[in-house]
Symmetry: C2
């Protein structure tokens, strides 16, 4: 068996980018289901397939059903889905395989580790896809399918995927928040955030070749109390930033103590 035909349940950011990637790789997208007609139609037009807002009208002969809906909506929609013995995967980073247990389905997970949006076309070739399935046979099906759109397909179990999702929050969402703080500080002094790009890029370049812990720089890792005190004074009028400065500096100092 090989997967050739796909139905998308959900028409959000992930469904849109996965749909486009699979279509381009030669898969046939049969149908898009979404609760709201507008998004179903929008995506089905892009994928040149049928749209429906009625879960009972989903075609029954697809090789794979990809559930790309909000985490909180997934179990309910899986219960409403009535195609017995269908091969179903979800695309969530934080939901385990057990969401499928007790349902009349064959099942797996197809999780692209990237922040996706409807309007910006994703370059899937560079996106790691994490797959998991009920058994080796279905895992191999997903592996082969993933390799049609990216070179980076990895078997990741539910526990690993959940922790990876937390790690992604640290490495992506939290760093973005730190960029937002830096941008705000620069703006208050009429300086462009762009000035920091070379420094940010260098930070990233370094962790590509070293463990981030080993290339930690800055006053905290040197335990340079004088500079840290100066920085805290600079932030005197911004207690929220002062708190975060203090807190992360302490975490860097403690991490160093733990590891030395």
């Amino acid at each position: 068996m090989m997967i050739k035909t796909i139905v998308f349940i959900g028409a959000g950011n992930v469904a849109t980018q996965l749909g486009l990637a699979f279509k381009e790789a030669g898969f046939e997208i049969l149908q898009v289901y979404s609760r709201t007609g507008k998004s179903a139609t929008l995506l089905s037009n892009k994928l040149n397939c049928f749209a429906t807002t009625d879960i009972k009208k989903i075609v029954t002969h697809a090789d794979l059903y990809i559930f790309s809906v909000k985490d909180s909506a997934l179990s309910k929609i899986l219960r409403d889905f009535e195609v017995d013995n269908a091969f179903a995967v979800h695309t969530s980073g934080s939901i385990g395989l057990e969401v499928f247990r007790g349902l009349k389905l064959r099942y797996g997970v197809f999780y692209p580790l990237q922040t996706l949006s409807k309007s910006v076309r994703a370059d899937f070739e560079k996106i790691p896809v994490c797959v998991e399935a009920q058994d080796v046979k279905h895992l191999n099906l997903l592996m082969r399918m993933g390799k049609k759109i990216t070179r980076n397909v990895t078997h990741v179990n539910s526990q690993q995927r959940a922790v990876m999702h937390v790690a992604a929050v640290f490495a992506c969402n939290f760093t973005n928040h730190l960029y937002a703080i830096a941008d705000d500080l620069m703006e208050k002094e009429n300086l462009s955030f762009d000035l920091l790009f070379p420094l940010i890029e260098e930070t990233l370049r370094k962790v590509k070749n070293h463990k981030p812990y080993e290339v930690q720089t800055g006053p905290a890792v040197r335990n340079d109390k004088e500079i840290m005190q100066k920085h805290l004074q600079q932030l005197a009028s911004l207690p929220a930033y002062q708190k975060i400065y203090n807190f992360i500096s302490k975490s860097i100092i403690e991490t160093k103590k733990r590891n030395s």
Copy 2:
């Protein structure tokens, strides 16, 4: 007047990379001073010039004296420096112009905003250099000099530079610490940190075209309590990371409240 000849006081990471860049750009490096003979010799060999460990033996006819020493050592070494009316700059991000006041010197600041090391050759063309001086004449001298090694020379006053230095800590040192946490989480689950690179790169790509605040994603900015709760449970055995997860999530939520 134009600057053609330079003496370096200090032989650390910044002196090394600035020295190499200025030499390549056609400046003549006359001498390197360092407290320790070994580093003075090491750098003077690279720059093909004289070395000294005796501050009284520094040549008196250089056009510019670049003080690249530890912040805590700068004022003492400036007091010991006896070349009257010399043009002196320091390269520190966190020390103001006032360190020169009351000394018989003409003065300014030449601050390269980058994390530099002795062994990795810096690509200065892409490094922002922030200059400041006692008057317009000396500022222009430093501007012109900076433009010989980078296209990115900006006039930044002491208050701006100090805040920029704090912003750099947020954008570079603190993000690196978050990478270190992510790496540690991944490693504990036998997953490679490399899997997160596309996500990290996408985060950076986005802030090049948008304000970081506007492209914030993740459970905290959506105030998705269910996922945040799940993540905190994932971190149950790692209270230090749990604390930082909680703290930055709250900061993201509060920032959104303040701005909306």
